[in-house]
């Protein structure tokens, strides 16, 4: 390695270490909570920039990414399992019957609006059917689905009873995004000639479900009777790695299979389920930083097409959420007014990063222009949405302050 490259590596590592420290700093976490910001908007954004910087310095090369692939697979598995543990069916049972159409509307309408608007934009940009249009549109649809439960401040102020519904809505959103990701993995299988198993797409669908369920049972059986916390961590690490490795080996969506495994595991009678979920969440945040970092390396802010797609993505997604919320208000009169309700559902969840990461790093298609534009679209879209949400929140805060004389 030559001297400038070595210097680049050293600088990059120093910056990464400093950022990691800053990202985990309690003050940053407090800001996030206080202002209702998402991880992507605050401590996550520097990691995107860092990925960009690493690429420019020539540190994050294709070889380095290939070398780190086992870690990426493991990270996807870990995040997938963590998302899966959100799907505790007992909690969904507590929702009112009117919640189902509301959740369906707020999840599906943004997906539909984004699909139409982004497909048209991609076609205008030259991505035609048969050349990745379907795949890229599905990736953007999956990214459009997920909302971050970060801006609950507005709801908590006057409509405290709706927060439970909002939290469950964002969880169902995640499920929809993962379902789309799983669909992408099933529809766009790798070259059949190099593998020994030849199944129809429906077979791979059943395989995804079956493997997820089987691994969920396996992880449940592994951690069920473990008393020692260290052994529990070892088996959890091993279980996630095995699940991620198996899913990846069979070219299935790692995050989807692991999410299914997590959902199955958490719905079994597990004595220390809270401790397991806490362990999973402890590591989740650093994994997101890692994904943001790699996605940052695929980010090309200099490509105007990405900015166009980003604006279209943000606008269509926001419009979809607003239409969904307004329609939902007609179904359930007890829902909060559409403005604060829509603002609460607008911020982009970090799950979008998982979806993007799967699209850019794992299947090696990060180099195609359309995927790069999609990366830009989600990053730009998230930032625009976040800016709009924060502006609205500030206005509300000022109005409340005026009303109360504070």
């Amino acid at each position: 390695m030559d001297a400038p490259h070595v210097a680049g590596v050293v600088i990059a590592i120093a910056v990464a270490a400093a950022l990691a420290v800053l990202g985990a700093h309690p003050r940053v976490r407090r800001w996030e909570r206080r202002f209702g910001l998402t991880v992507l908007a605050t401590s996550g954004f520097p990691f995107l920039l860092l990925g960009l910087l690493f690429r420019e310095l020539g540190v994050l090369t294709a070889d380095v990414l290939a070398h780190l692939r086992p870690l990426f697979e493991f990270g996807l598995g870990w995040v997938g399992l963590t998302i899966g543990t959100n799907l505790n069916l007992r909690r969904f049972d507590r929702l009112s019957p009117s919640a189902a159409p509301v959740i369906a509307l707020t999840t599906l309408l943004p997906i539909l609006f984004t699909a139409i608007a982004c497909s048209l934009t991609l076609t205008w940009l030259g991505v035609v059917p048969g050349k990745g249009l379907m795949r890229d549109a599905l990736i953007l649809m999956a990214c459009a689905a997920v909302s971050a439960p970060a801006n609950l401040e507005l709801l908590l102020r006057r409509w405290r009873s709706s927060t439970h519904l909002v939290i469950e809505m964002t969880r169902i959103d995640q499920l929809a995004a993962l379902a789309l990701l799983g669909f992408v993995a099933i529809m766009f299988r790798p070259d059949r000639t190099v593998t020994l198993w030849h199944l129809p797409r429906s077979g791979w669908f059943l395989m995804t479900l079956g493997l997820g369920a089987l691994l969920g049972i396996a992880i449940f059986l592994l951690v069920r009777n473990v008393v020692d916390e260290t052994e529990e961590l070892a088996l959890l690490l091993g279980g996630v790695a095995l699940a991620a490795g198996m899913a990846g080996y069979l070219a299935l969506a790692v995050a989807v299979v692991c999410a299914l495994a997590g959902a199955v595991m958490i719905n079994f009678p597990l004595k220390r389920s809270e401790r397991i979920v806490r362990t999973l969440r402890e590591v989740e945040r650093p994994i997101y930083f890692l994904f943001l970092f790699v996605v940052g390396a695929a980010w090309r802010p200099d490509e105007w097409q990405g900015w166009v797609l980003g604006i279209v993505f943000a606008a269509s997604r926001a419009y979809g959420k607003i239409v969904a919320v307004r329609t939902a208000a007609r179904i359930d009169a007890e829902l909060p007014p559409w403005k604060p309700f829509a603002v609460t559902l607008l911020p982009e969840s970090t799950i979008a990063i998982v979806v993007l990461f799967s699209a850019t790093a794992i299947d090696g298609s990060g180099a195609t222009p359309a995927v790069r534009w999609a990366v830009n679209a989600v990053i730009v879209g998230s930032m625009l949405t976040e800016a709009a949400v924060q502006a609205y929140q500030r206005r509300v805060r000022l109005r409340v302050a005026e009303e109360t004389g504070a």
Partner: protein, 435 residues
């Protein structure tokens, strides 16, 4: 517990076998293959630990046996192509093991024993190296690859081989101490000696390989030219890592175990690119935290202890899977002879050191057992030997590797027994109390 462990191993092995049938035999999928191997080895190693507890043998030996059994040369569930991808885990594991060792070494506490530690480190290494040198000098007359060499060339071959085999194993010692929850004079003295001796070995190997390159011109490697950046660069990187950790713990504190692991991962990855040694980086960081900062290594070692067990399990399982059984059986007689000679040399050196430093005979005997295991550093040096010296490096390197395998399998068992006999194992004490 045994039935459950065996059933789990069978179940996980069946799942892995079924998954591997997706691609033709011999092929693997980059990334997924390594993740699969990692998960499989970790789960099976944890189950093997229960079997080892029942059989009263070290868990560490169980991890190595798991690697050998499911590795490429026996069952083959972990294929040879998967192993290079697992280097990612190995580098971090070496760094973490060294970090934990550094955190345990408090110089103020060790000061009364420093003379004994220094004397024992030097004398055991010299005695073992001298006897091994004589053995390998003799072997060079028998081996076809070296039979025609001049006396000077034979001396170089024997010197390099003896140098590699004089290495100890901080990884095994830390592994056994962690497993037995040991604390006491024997634990501390053994750990100090293996750490100090391995630092010396890294330097002496650079010197002996430089000598080798002079006698065998045209062979590869960098020798002394690489030593300065390698050694001092690693120590500097370790000091920086220690500083960052100290800053993190004092200013943030939350998730310090994960942060330590992440930092050591970055250090291992960058170290590979910058030719730095993860062992030295981790060790320096640990020593710095324990002896220079106010934080103390114990706090971070405790925070990182959660990941220590899985790290040991996967590290030694991968080490086991990497053992080339075919080559070992081909050189087994030489390897066994070298292992016995090495053991005798260490014992003789320890006895002399015991007399000089005033250690009692029982303590000296137990100390010898702690110096027998070999793993990380020795294997790394063998890799250099195999790569740097052609054609004799391959032949002599195989014998050296065979010797390391013998020490790897026998050493942990003997050291664990020594720790229990010395009454320093809290794990054993707890077990007896429960019984």
């Amino acid at each position: 517990m045994i039935t459950r462990a065996l059933l789990t191993i069978a179940g996980v092995a069946a799942l892995t076998y079924a998954t591997r049938s997706f691609v033709p035999q011999g092929a693997t999928i980059t990334g997924s293959g390594a993740a699969l191997a990692f998960g499989f080895l970790l789960i099976v190693a944890v189950q093997a630990a229960h079997l080892c507890d029942a059989a009263k043998i070290p868990r560490l030996t169980g991890y190595i046996l798991v690697g050998i059994f499911f590795g490429p040369d026996v069952i083959g569930l972990v294929s040879r192509k998967m192993l290079p991808d697992l280097a990612l885990v190995k580098g971090t594991a070496v760094g973490l093991i060294a970090f934990l060792a550094g955190c345990e070494l408090n110089m103020r506490r060790l000061r009364p024993r420093l003379r004994a530690i220094g004397t024992a480190s030097v004398l055991t290494m010299i005695a073992a190296a001298l006897l091994l040198f004589a053995l390998f000098y003799g072997i060079t007359h028998i081996l076809p690859a070296t039979a025609g060499y001049t006396t000077v060339q034979r001396i170089v071959v024997a010197l390099v081989a003896a140098n590699v085999l004089a290495a100890y194993s901080p990884a095994v010692v830390v592994g056994i101490l962690s497993e037995t929850k040991a604390a006491g004079p024997l634990s501390e003295t053994t750990l100090s000696i293996v750490v100090l001796a391995d630092l010396i070995i890294v330097v002496t190997y650079a010197l002996s390989s430089t000598f080798g390159h002079i006698v065998f011109p045209g062979s590869g490697g960098g020798g002394l030219a690489l030593l300065v950046p390698h050694l001092f660069g690693s120590i500097a990187a370790g000091a920086v890592a220690g500083g960052v950790l100290a800053l993190y713990v004092s200013r943030i504190g939350a998730r310090s175990g994960i942060f330590t692991f992440a930092l050591l991962f970055i250090a291992a990855e960058a170290g590979e690119a910058l030719h730095l040694n993860p062992l030295l980086i981790g060790l320096t960081a640990g020593l710095l935290l324990e002896n220079v900062t106010e934080i103390g290594g114990e706090r971070l070692a405790h925070a990182a202890s959660g990941v220590a067990m899985p790290t040991f399990a996967i590290f030694f399982a991968v080490v086991g899977a990497e053992i080339p059984l075919g080559a070992f059986f081909g050189t087994a007689p030489f390897a066994l002879a070298a292992a016995m000679i090495r053991g005798a040399g260490i014992y003789a050196g320890a006895r002399i050191a015991g007399r000089v430093a005033g250690m009692d005979a029982t303590f000296t005997r137990r100390l010898t057992l702690g110096l027998l295991p070999q793993a990380g550093v020795a294997i790394a040096l063998v890799a250099l030997l195999l790569a740097d010296f052609s054609p004799w490096g391959r032949v002599v390197g195989t014998i050296v590797l065979g010797t390391i395998i013998v020490n790897q399998l026998i050493g942990p068992v003997l050291f664990r027994n020594a720790i229990i006999a010395a009454g320093e194992s809290r794990h054993e004490a707890e077990r007896r109390r429960l019984v």
